[in-house]
Symmetry: C2
Subunit: 235 residues, 2 copies
């Protein structure tokens, strides 16, 4: 059987550039601000619970994360958190929204190798303005045929995006660091998916790898993606 | 000279459905929460200053508005705001993110009248997830050929959107309640623009009407849009 693959989608945060490390640094700072009230492990549990609870309201991104930190600070101190601490949480959130963008190794070469053969789409979720800022600062914009900033990554969303910019999800491949967002829904949409693990991944993005799915693979680095695709097409 | 108009863009908040009234209600509540510390006029001045200062970080939408309310509460109380008040501000923000969508009068009939003749694009800014929620709840999705949720409305953005979905901004018309966002940049992009004033409009959206621009008009209601367009094309 001859396979056709026309379109490659790539996640952005922790696939093309560092992201979670800025959340981790901010969480350290957050724990430090509240060290007189609670230990870090407990605080992180409560923060994650708040993020999960607020996801349907806030969606993904730094603004919702900041609001969840404030809520958690009030909760763990039983309303005794000083306004000065809230103020520092607001500062920390704003700092995240202007953190420098650090493109991950091998990203640019990989995009250049894939571009002549495939349509390339960046598919990311998070705050609209923040994702646009990071894309602009990354210098990677011109390597992509299309940019899609979405509120959620589902099979239906991948269906729509790969139909709009390519030739359907069944002739598309999605690569990224999140099993929950980049891999599992793309497999469900009938496409190929490549997991590119990152050493830091947000707990809400964890999921079981679909090891028995024939269109799934995990690669250690994004630099291995062009050869992986060549092998797929040679099969 | 025969004019060609192929594509009509419509703003969403306070053009298709109520929006600013929910901000106004929340501001009343916010003033009430802080009534022991400051009067409403002063508080609103400080809040607007915070929103303006934070716009480059937060962009548009309710999450940034909530963060700016918290910042302002700390500021006007000189750090003495109780955590309970911050908690109520968080609740107020979440309430806004689930407020019911009330479609404005004549909207649906107008979209139905325009649809056979023109491509219709909804063009809005704000939080991605929140705008998607409102569109879904409005029941208006199927009246549009395309939806564009953008981080800012500039001439370049209108250029790109009307090129992507239509035949260029010079054959497009944009209608909405904001002179700053819906009218002035569309005129700058070479298109037609129609101002549909709403009795409540956020101060940061105020601007001078471009009264001398031949492609500008103001209409009292969205229901007048189809006849206005017919007259333009008959000229």
């Amino acid at each position: 059987m001859s396979l056709t693959l026309t379109t490659v989608g790539l996640d952005a945060d922790d696939t093309l550039w560092h992201n979670e490390r800025f959340f981790a640094l901010t969480q350290d700072h957050f724990a430090d601000l509240l060290r007189d009230h609670t230990d870090k492990d407990h605080l992180m549990d409560r923060l994650l619970a708040a993020e999960r609870r607020n996801l349907a309201h806030y969606g993904y991104g730094i603004k919702g994360f900041t609001l969840s930190m404030i809520e958690t600070a009030i909760e763990v101190t039983e309303g005794k958190v000083p306004a000065e601490v809230i103020s520092q949480i607001l500062d920390a959130g704003r700092d995240m929204l202007s953190h420098p963008v650090e493109v991950l190794p091998q990203v640019e070469q990989t995009l250049k190798r894939l571009r002549p053969q495939f349509k390339l789409i960046l598919i990311t979720k998070g705050d609209l303005l923040d994702q646009e800022r990071k894309l602009a600062q990354s210098g990677l914009r011109d390597h992509f045929d299309a940019i899609e900033i979405v509120s959620e990554k589902t099979a239906a969303i991948y269906d729509a995006i790969f139909a709009r910019h390519g030739t359907g999800a069944d002739q598309g491949l999605m690569a990224g660091n999140s099993l929950a967002s980049d891999v599992i829904p793309m497999i469900a949409a009938g496409g190929w998916a490549v997991h590119l693990p990152h050493d830091l991944t947000w707990a809400l993005e964890h999921a079981q790898a679909p090891l028995s799915a024939p269109r799934f693979a995990a690669l250690r680095t994004i630099g291995a993606l062009p050869n992986h695709i060549s092998r797929l097409l040679a099969d």
